[in-house]
Subunit: 465 residues, 2 copies
């Protein structure tokens, strides 16, 4: 059914998105339609992320889609970075607008304007905001979930009294929200590090990133957190009176993660039979499948569904017995439901059902009265196994090298890891010319450096989506 991954990974990706009914291309080039199966997984992601964002103290708000063009021009690097990607509204209500407005590509500028209004004293800081929204960045080479002209995301924007406070918060989000979510919910063992000056967000002084390894060995930037220094505070006059009575500029941060994470989950865990959704991220964790019709079978399947639901499992019943069983099994595999419990007359005659775990394809007959416990345990094991498998793959496909040339060569099949001192700006240029980028810098022990000038840093180089 699906193109095998080894044959053509990008085509496999397209196939699985179409056949698992996750998304479609929209009519305007580069836009996408997120279908119910895909959107339900996104809702799970939003729930988990939103809880972590709130636990980190940020409050949700909503800022306008339309931003006056002049706002973007106030921060020089920012406008330079985003100008090529803007969608511009020139007409509204049947008339040409006196000033064109851009559809937000991100909201630092408009939120900066309101931070300046709302902040007057050190008592108003930190100001910790987040919004769930759509943004538009015109894409020349769109790919569903990974690069689309419109995508859904959360963008956090905070203002602080000191640089140290801003840095600590940008990193708190990086670790407590993003890393925790990606590792424990998406089962993606991201490498967390610092972007080089060249890879920084337009307008940032520091960009932190979380990089995931996909099934073909390429990298995907899964989320970023930025220190914006005082750049936007200057551009929008975000000032406060300090405890001592002076006027000070605030220090701001921004951080985002998007529907791109859906693409990352697909490409990290999917196999030749379709998706493998980690149970924590799954909208459907278990499906109870009626193999064949029959009063006892149907009644048992319904009871089992209810028992699983009572045990806190997100479960659905598949009783479409007029559709061949084989087709329904293939569909469940495609959609990556972590666990399937097959209830059929033959097994049931012996008091059994069959437990099928998606991540490893195992089929286990087991007594009906053990089914709930077995499903709960299988979900736990599946979550851990997917993470372990992805971590092992990442380690096996990360080559320790010592020169940029070796790194470029190794970036065909995976990542390369080498001393940042062996790369530098010149080496980064050379790699870029071959389509290889510095994904991030970390310290030797895996922690995140404060500067790219720290001695002993390690660089990860790879081809990326």
């Amino acid at each position: 059914m699906l193109t095998p991954r080894a044959e053509d990974f990008p085509r496999w990706y397209q196939d699985v998105i179409a056949k698992a009914e996750l998304a479609d291309n929209g009519p305007v080039r580069g836009t996408m339609v997120i279908r119910p199966t895909g959107y339900a997984i996104w809702e799970r992601m939003v729930d988990e992320m939103d809880a972590r964002i709130k636990a980190a103290g940020s409050q949700n708000a909503y800022f306008p889609l339309f931003i006056p063009e002049s706002y973007l021009r106030r921060e020089a690097e920012h406008v330079e970075g985003f100008s090529p990607e803007l969608a511009v509204v020139t007409h509204g209500g049947g008339k040409q607008l006196s000033e064109p407005v851009v559809v937000r590509p991100t909201s630092e500028t408009v939120i900066g304007e309101f931070m300046a209004k709302w902040v007057s004293s050190y008592r108003d800081l930190p100001l910790l905001l987040n919004q769930w929204a759509n943004v538009v960045r015109w894409e020349l080479r769109p790919r569903v979930f990974l690069r689309t002209s419109e995508f859904l995301w959360q963008e956090g924007h905070t203002a602080h009294a000191t640089e140290a406070d801003a840095r600590a918060y940008a990193r708190r989000i990086l670790h407590d929200v993003y890393e925790d979510f990606m590792v424990n919910i998406l089962a993606i063992p991201v490498v967390v590090g610092r972007k080089t000056a060249r890879e920084r967000f337009a307008g940032a002084t520091n960009t932190y990133t979380l990089e995931g390894m996909m099934g073909d060995g390429k990298a995907l930037q899964m989320g970023t957190s930025h220190e914006l220094g005082q750049n936007f505070a200057k551009a929008f006059q975000i000032e406060y009176s300090s405890r001592e009575g002076g006027r000070e500029l605030a220090w701001t941060t921004s951080w985002g993660s998007s529907t791109r994470m859906l693409g990352g989950m697909i490409m990290c865990h999917g196999d030749d039979n379709g998706l493998r959704v980690p149970p924590q991220a799954a909208a459907v964790q278990a499906v109870v499948t009626v193999v064949k019709d029959g009063d006892q079978v149907l009644a048992t399947a319904n009871k089992l569904r209810d028992a699983l639901s009572d045990a806190g499992v997100r479960v659905i019943l598949d009783d479409r017995v007029d559709t061949p069983f084989g087709r329904r099994a293939v569909d469940a595999e495609l959609k990556g439901y972590p666990v399937r419990v097959e209830v059929g007359p033959r097994d049931l005659g012996q008091g059994n059902v069959t437990l099928v775990t998606r991540y490893n394809g195992t089929k286990t007959p087991l007594p009906l009265d053990q089914a709930v416990d077995a499903v709960t345990a299988a979900l736990h094991t599946a979550q851990e196994s997917l993470l372990t498998e992805a971590r092992t793959r990442r380690e096996e496909n990360t080559a320790e090298v010592s020169t940029v040339d070796e790194a470029i060569e190794a970036s065909g099949a995976g990542w390369a890891r080498l001393p940042w001192s062996a790369v530098g700006v010149e080496g980064e240029n050379k790699a870029n010319q071959q389509g290889v980028t510095v994904r991030c810098l970390t310290r030797e022990d895996g922690t995140v450096p404060d500067s790219e000038d720290e001695p002993g840093l390690v660089a990860y180089l790879a081809r990326a989506y």
Copy 2:
């Protein structure tokens, strides 16, 4: 602090939105910024609505913000209705677009296009979709929450095999989702009825509505549910092969409710001291206020906050003792927190705290160990009392009249109710010229008619937001 409602209701509305920090005007005319206090209430609304929409069987999905201009033209009434309100993107990625795209004012057209792709057999019906999204309708006379150029909403879109199925579903949403939510969560006793032909949605064959009475006696349309007949099915070829093998056009519905409901909640329940948020809709149901500093006071307040939270109350602690108590009390009133528990050294010396209920301003001293039960009971009472109060006001301010002239006169201070046979198309024209509209038609017993030609119908006439 606030302009009294009796003096200038629209100014009171603006004041309360500013001072309770619910929203600000955005920089592009007609847009709004929803601040954390306002957005937290919207999140409560979304949670409650979303649960009801899912219980009614609809699934969430996401369709693109940008719609090709040509899509809108396929349904003649639809394009005529929305053309004056469109925002048009003419440039993307630095180039002029070959076909301009509109920013969705609503999504019947683009969703119709995909329904046509996804529906092929009667087995695919009903197709029940919903999305949470932003939409843009250029507004000449914007007013925060009520009429904004961009707003947040849910829009449901469904396709059915028969007209009867479509009608039943449009009504299920009307009653089980909208009416239930508005009455039981927002405590707004809406009148549920049918729009006249003139007030129908552009492209609909039947429009159902829920009308709330605001504090000044005007009406606010709080939500609508539409039967679209086969209009969009024809325009987008939403066809299915029937059980008998023939090709049939589907019957579609759409239904929406928006951030406008926030405006309705403010204007229905607010008083001269600020908001009164019904406990079911409140993001903050109770605030534990530390009157003055002191070790025992702080420890007690923290314990009480935890106990209330454990009891399922959405509670915050106000321990900002460096801000004068009076100012914090005024702020809590402004924000409409349903219950305030004041913990101060004097009361506490006698083992007491003070319970303040926002809806009626009552202050009751009570023993600390009864506080949790008292808060829970007070929330229950406040919810019921706000609904009763709003229902009484609606009944008292609805005049039974018998002519259109009387209805126009009565519409200064409230609503008018009269036989639809005494209005008709001519009477509707006459009322419209005086700024009075037919809000809806109901049967004598309050149920929703199938047609405006049914005998014995009652018309509600009013001025409206």
